[in-house]
Symmetry: C2
Subunit: 119 residues, 2 copies
């Protein structure tokens, strides 16, 4: 059954950080929501590009040679094979759009890797 | 060169209606912005799912058996091979996520078909 998705309603359903939740599928890509606070791990994705659309807060996307600050109403696309490390000074809410195969820690793996649940 | 995209800045760059503009690529999918007002044409897409994230205004997505109203902060995904007709009573601004192969009028074609330019 086709239905709309309200982003605020979905964001109210979880509190855990750095653990993307799936809220929609567009062919082989998924729409995910994630809450961030603090610093993540440096990683890259072998084949997947990754879009971060900021809904709340300020996201600092670190690259090896520079950093880009992304505010609400802005997005950044991290191309595959590009090392990046997201940092959130305060809590940041992000909508992700990326191939369903995307793992949050990319090829780095490690203890911060999370399965993606549907909410 | 990686850079962020500000949605308001991009929306200020065009005024034509029902003519999606590309603002980003995530693997084989494109992020597009479009301004809508009035009624479009009934159509469907053979293989492409289509996400409509409303940024401003109220979108009425008509299906053959019902209608779903989508407000700012909400999105709807129209599965492939599903007939739909978007209607906007007042001007509506929408972010689209869809495969790059998606044609705005789908298999219906006709005079309202538009090429997608990058802005």
């Amino acid at each position: 059954m086709i239905d709309k998705v309200n982003l605020s309603d979905k964001l109210a359903r979880f509190q855990d950080l750095w653990s993307p939740k799936a809220v929609g599928a567009v062919n082989d890509c998924w729409v995910k929501l994630v809450k961030l606070s603090g610093s993540f791990v440096w990683h890259s994705h072998e084949v997947e590009d990754e879009l971060f659309l900021v809904l709340r807060g300020r996201l600092r996307m670190q690259f090896r040679d520079r950093e880009i600050t992304v505010d609400p109403g802005e997005f950044i696309i991290v191309p595959h094979q590009t090392e990046h490390c997201p940092v959130a000074e305060d809590e940041v809410h992000v909508l992700l759009f990326e191939p369903r195969s995307t793992v949050n820690t990319g090829t780095a793996g490690g203890t911060r890797t999370r399965e993606v649940d549907w909410i």
